[in-house]
């Protein structure tokens, strides 16, 4: 979480926040009413292909960019409301988890902070983090939206999770296409911009990653198992996601 605040002292990272927020908001606003799933709440998110790419390449700037971009998308799409706060935190997680879990989500994690399409470890990290970050976002938004009386958790959480997973799977093509240009030609990989080393394989990192993973999976699965105290499990899941995010 340290770098998510330290980055505000770096001009290039601030500009990256603005640019990634603008790209995401432009894609959201352009396709807002194209294929709605729950009108005003969620739609088929073409912009979903940017999620992992922004999170992995721009790190904390990508996370803030996705959060702010989602609010701007609501603002321009005319759906600004209390749910936009939930959208901010959910989308922030979608950008935050890829860069924090890339080296810490043992045994699926990569050994170095790079993307190599020929390395199975890059794929295992990408796929596992895609699923966990999508679940974490779905639990966060679903719970808040349900509490506000917008849409039932059971409906919205699954739609958001599936939407994000599909977007991220298709987004790997974008990552493959732009990784080299961003890192080597433009020098905009966040660890190079901030001149830092991301949190590596440590007990604290592994614990944080797994706390988030358990919270996310439990939150999504809670609705499928009858007889369980669903609300209590979902709230506990959110607490685990917040705790894990603070640890990372």
């Amino acid at each position: 979480m340290r770098y998510a605040f330290l980055m505000w002292n770096n001009t290039r990272m601030i500009v990256l926040v603005a640019v990634s927020a603008a790209i995401y908001a432009a894609a959201l606003a352009a396709f807002k009413t194209a294929i709605p799933l729950i009108p005003g709440i969620t739609e088929v998110r073409v912009a979903g292909i940017f999620l992992m790419t922004f999170g992995f390449l721009f790190g904390p700037a990508g996370a803030w960019g996705l959060g702010i971009g989602n609010v701007i998308g609501d603002l321009l799409g005319g759906t600004l409301g209390p749910a936009s706060i939930a959208g901010f935190f959910g989308n922030f997680l979608l950008g935050y988890l890829p860069y924090t879990m890339w080296l810490t989500f043992f045994p699926f994690a990569e050994t170095s902070y790079e993307w190599n399409a020929k390395n199975p470890r890059s794929w295992s990290a990408y796929i596992s983090i895609n699923v966990i970050s999508s679940f974490a976002c779905a639990v966060t938004i679903g719970l808040m939206v349900d509490a506000l009386g917008f849409v039932p958790y059971a409906v919205v959480s699954r739609i958001i999770a599936i939407n994000n997973i599909i977007g991220n799977f298709l987004g790997v093509i974008l990552l493959i296409a732009v990784y080299d240009v961003t890192k080597n030609q433009l020098g905009l990989l966040w660890i190079d911009v901030m001149r830092v080393k991301p949190v590596g394989l440590s007990v604290r990192g592994i614990c944080g990653a797994w706390i988030i993973a358990i919270g996310s999976i439990a939150g999504i699965c809670a609705g499928f198992i009858p007889g369980l105290p669903t609300t209590a499990i979902i709230w506990s899941s959110l607490m685990l996601i917040i705790l894990g995010s603070l640890i990372l």
Partner: protein, 264 residues
């Protein structure tokens, strides 16, 4: 493609300080959350609709009429199956509809419509620059407000660049209209690559331009446009604060406007 909802009129809401409108919007959102009876949420929705008409926001509402209608219908039809009450109206196998859950569904439909209408009033009466100025005056950290305002300004540029790329690919034979959702989704990716690269090239140029002008995230600054709170702004804020207090009193102490006690 016009992305702006702002309507260039001179109504009384346009002339208010952006902070008043931001705080006012937040208070209306909280007041909405105080009740879950359709009579109360319906009355709030009606008031906000009247306010939208007086603020000249009818064009924005007309633009989003299908979203508001669908939102209302979707919520009114979905919630009755996910909540339960005491008075059973209809049952079929494990499905059950109660009077309370139907009323709750209607209340949520009104609540959602109110949220959208309130957000539209804010956007139709406040320029993007005013929102940023309001946020800065409300002590939001400057780098965050700067990123927000820069992003707002860049969105039309990127949408335009995206439209040019789409037109270039369509002229080469790319078919974006036919086939199913997944297929159309997939066709967007080859378009996203040049959009991404062209947008990201801005970053270095913009950062260099900022640094060459002495930009420093934590520096104290002065502003050309300084929003000021007038007597009218304070009167409106006091009125809204009183409204919020009354709503909370009705909900918490008198237990009024509630059809489903356990829910917000």
């Amino acid at each position: 493609m016009n992305l702006s909802i702002y309507s260039d009129d001179k109504t009384w809401l346009h002339s208010l300080d952006p902070r008043t409108k931001l705080f006012g919007t937040t208070i209306v959102f909280i007041v909405c959350l105080c009740f879950n009876h359709p009579l109360h949420t319906g009355a709030i929705a009606l008031c906000m609709f009247a306010l939208a008409l007086s603020a000249g926001a009818q064009k924005a509402i007309w633009k989003l009429r299908y979203i508001i209608l669908m939102l209302f219908l979707f919520s009114a039809m979905l919630w009755p199956f996910f909540t339960s009450g005491k008075t059973i109206v209809w049952t079929w196998k494990s499905l059950k509809l109660t009077r309370e859950s139907i009323l709750y569904g209607l209340a949520m439909g009104f609540r959602l419509s109110t949220f959208v209408i309130t957000g539209l009033i804010l956007m139709a009466t406040t320029k993007n620059e005013e929102i940023t100025d309001g946020l800065i005056k409300m002590k939001i950290p400057y780098p965050l407000a700067f990123a927000f305002s820069t992003a707002l300004r860049l969105v039309p540029t990127f949408v335009k660049a995206g439209a040019t790329i789409v037109q270039a690919q369509v002229s080469r034979g790319l078919d974006l209209e036919s086939r199913n959702i997944i297929s159309r989704f997939g066709k967007f990716i080859p378009l996203a690559v040049p959009m991404f690269i062209s947008a990201i090239r801005y970053t270095n140029l913009l950062a260099m331009a900022l640094e060459s002008r002495g930009f420093s995230p934590d520096m104290q600054r002065t502003f050309f446009y300084e929003p000021t709170m007038t007597k009218r702004d304070w009167i409106i804020l006091y009125f809204l604060a009183a409204l919020l207090f009354i709503s909370l009193y009705m909900r918490i102490i008198l237990n009024m406007g509630v059809v489903m006690p356990g829910r917000i």
